[in-house]
Amino acid sequence: MQPFVELTAPACPLPLSNVDTDQLIPARFMSRPRAEGYGDFLLHDLRREAGGALDPDFPLNAHPGAKILVARRNFGCGSSREAAVYALADFGFACVIAPSFGDIFASNAVNNGVLPATVEEAEAETLLAAVGAGAELTVDLAAQEIRGAGPALRFTVDPVWRTKLLNGWDDVDLTLSHAEAIAAFATADAAARPWAQLRAERGGGSA
């Protein structure tokens, strides 16, 4: 995974609260392989007019090249679909700034190197105004600061996620280094909680 350290880039205001994952990527696009790229599906139905043409006034269309998204509260609420993050990342976003995030969305974002930066509601409004007027932002993960919209703002992010993003770490490698502890747990658990175990089925069950 690409580390995220500091990013200076154009930003896009999305002055909406409760932007759910169904809006971030409608379900009908999620059967495609990731390799095909998910960027075109980002906010697919909000970005388009009834006939299907891009709405030039929709923020995403009015701010081409943006890599930072600023939104209102409860961004990414809803389903666990990681495709919502694929759509953001493939569109070019590396950071979303909002007053709060859906839990599953935020952890999916981090697993894809996208930073969910949490700010106060009033600060989000300040950023929305500045970015709407064309300000570029700098998001500095080491200092946990956003610069470019008046005085530097502090954002919060889970410290573990911060370390993970700064280093571009992947959990699986880390976990595999605990393979012995996992095996020991499983053995002890099988004895302690026989009722919790499941047996394999021959042939993997029916079709």
Partner: protein
């Protein structure tokens, strides 16, 4: 003496493989469900050349994309058929059991899991679906995860998590007649907001919760994610044990008795501390419906559409304006004046047998004024409903009776509402476009959806039933 602990903490502590100094714990996962949508995770395994570490703890189920009007993939949309077949291939390659399209036990993962006895008290359960919180009804830690995490669990049977805060939601007193778990959940979400429980594991408690059947508890826990909660749980009791007993994959005989002993020790200790407590007066809950595009936009059926001009908070007022515009409503409009175009009874929230019975009780001997779809939560629920004659009540009322799947909850299988159509729905999300591009969704209980079907508008089920009483 150990310090008093909550239900959540007792289960969590039992599953910690490794605690890291930075507050992350590596948790053992007892049950992992995969569905067609898990194809991204299987692709990640292929990229790494990795195998599923504990295939016996992984359960495959076809639900999200399955066609409900035919079980013949040859007659289904080719893209949808491909999703079902991809799951068949991925599970077969990895030796994972599958409840496939034509398995008589097929159903929506959160209906089939408890039905088959995969769901038990005291477990950790995950699935790449946010409504995995449903299983918490048995007193188990169950939550939704993303594709990267699904791949991680497939490869290691573990997951890194930070212990969430604990929240207790106490429903004091008893529900009024005709009020259901769906109304309780919507009332709770409207109280705290769609992100009100963010970062918290919820334990639902109180007299009204104790009095719920397992079906009701499953509905309540199902909607935990709509308040932003990490998971939702109900302490296991006799109601839960009785439900589990005799299920195909549940422990049997002496193993069951020993399990019950372990489960009986799970409820929160009397002195256990919660980070937050919310108390709701159960007796005051009315039949509740949503008017907007977030589950927090919920009101009693005798309410009116809010007026954004009267909402002080600017961002909340903007949300209300957006919602009213999308939903095609007027500020101040009476909810009972909102005409609907179709209804849907289904989803892991409200498609268990009790839900179908409640809807059928309203529809019996009546005609639906609008078209609609009834999709049972599993093929076992479907068979049961047919045995009870519920299917005939639905079809005689003019509704379509189809096979089990996620169907119009998410529309992945092509069951959708048309742009601008208004649907009274037993599902869990009224998000923009959730039931199809431009579709407008109102969430409510099965009985309330049935009432809306009969009236052709949002209606108070108590009045419809009262008419004939």
């Amino acid at each position: 003496m150990t310090a008093p602990r909550t239900l959540f903490d007792k289960i969590w502590d039992r599953h910690v493989v490794h605690d890291r100094e930075d507050g992350q714990s590596l948790l053992w996962i007892d049950r992992h469900f995969v569905h067609e949508g898990s194809h991204h995770a299987f692709a990640k395994l292929r990229e790494r050349g990795a195998r599923v570490s504990r295939p016996e703890l992984t359960i495959g189920i076809a639900d999200h994309y399955v066609p409900t009007r035919t079980r013949d993939l040859g007659r289904a949309d080719p893209q949808i058929a491909d999703m079902v077949r991809r799951l068949e291939r991925n599970t077969a390659d990895q030796g994972v059991r599958l409840f496939g399209l034509n398995d008589p036990r097929q159903g929506i993962v959160h209906v089939m899991g408890p039905e088959q006895g995969f769901t038990l008290p005291g477990l950790t359960m995950v699935c790449g679906d946010s409504h995995t919180s449903t299983h918490g009804a048995f007193g188990t830690i169950a939550f939704g995860i993303g594709a990267s995490e699904v791949a991680h669990v497939l490869m290691t049977q573990t997951l890194w998590q930070r212990r969430p805060k604990r929240m207790r939601v106490r429903f004091d007193g008893r529900l009024a007649p005709g009020i259901t778990a769906k109304d309780m959940a919507l009332a709770f979400i409207a109280t705290v907001g769609a992100d009100g429980a963010r970062g918290h594991a919820i334990e639902y408690a109180g007299e009204a919760v104790r009095g719920l059947s397992m079906e009701g508890r499953l509905t309540l826990c199902n909607l935990s994610i709509e308040s932003g909660g990490r998971c939702g749980m109900v302490a296991p009791d006799e109601t839960a044990f009785a439900f589990v007993k005799g299920r195909p994959y549940a422990p049997a005989g002496e193993a069951f008795d020993r399990a019950v002993e372990a489960w009986a020790a799970l409820p929160s200790d009397a002195e256990a501390a919660f980070d937050r407590e919310v108390v709701i007066d159960a007796a005051a809950i009315a039949p509740t419906v949503t008017w907007g595009v977030s589950p927090e936009d919920a009101l009693p059926i005798d309410g009116t559409v809010p007026d954004p001009a009267r909402i002080a908070d600017a961002s909340r007022a903007a949300h209300a304006r957006e919602a009213i515009d999308y939903m095609g409503l007027r500020p101040g409009q009476r909810l009972t004046d909102v005409a609907v175009d179709r209804v849907f009874i289904g989803s892991c929230t409200n498609a268990r047998i009790e839900d179908l019975r409640a809807a059928a009780a309203v529809l019996k001997g009546r005609r639906a004024a609008v078209p609609g779809l009834v999709s049972p939560g599993s093929m076992i629920v479907k068979a049961q409903a047919e045995q009870e004659g519920l299917d005939r009540i639905f079809t005689e009322a003019g509704l379509e009776w189809v096979a089990s799947g996620c169907s119009m909850c998410v529309g992945m299988n092509g069951d959708i509402a048309a742009p601008g159509e208004r649907c009274a729905s037993t599902t869990n999300r009224n998000f923009k476009g959730r039931q199809g591009p431009g579709a407008r969704t109102h969430l409510m209980s099965p009985a309330m959806v049935a009432a809306a079907a009969v009236a052709g508008r949002l209606a108070d089920v108590r009045e419809i039933l009262g008419e004939t009483a």
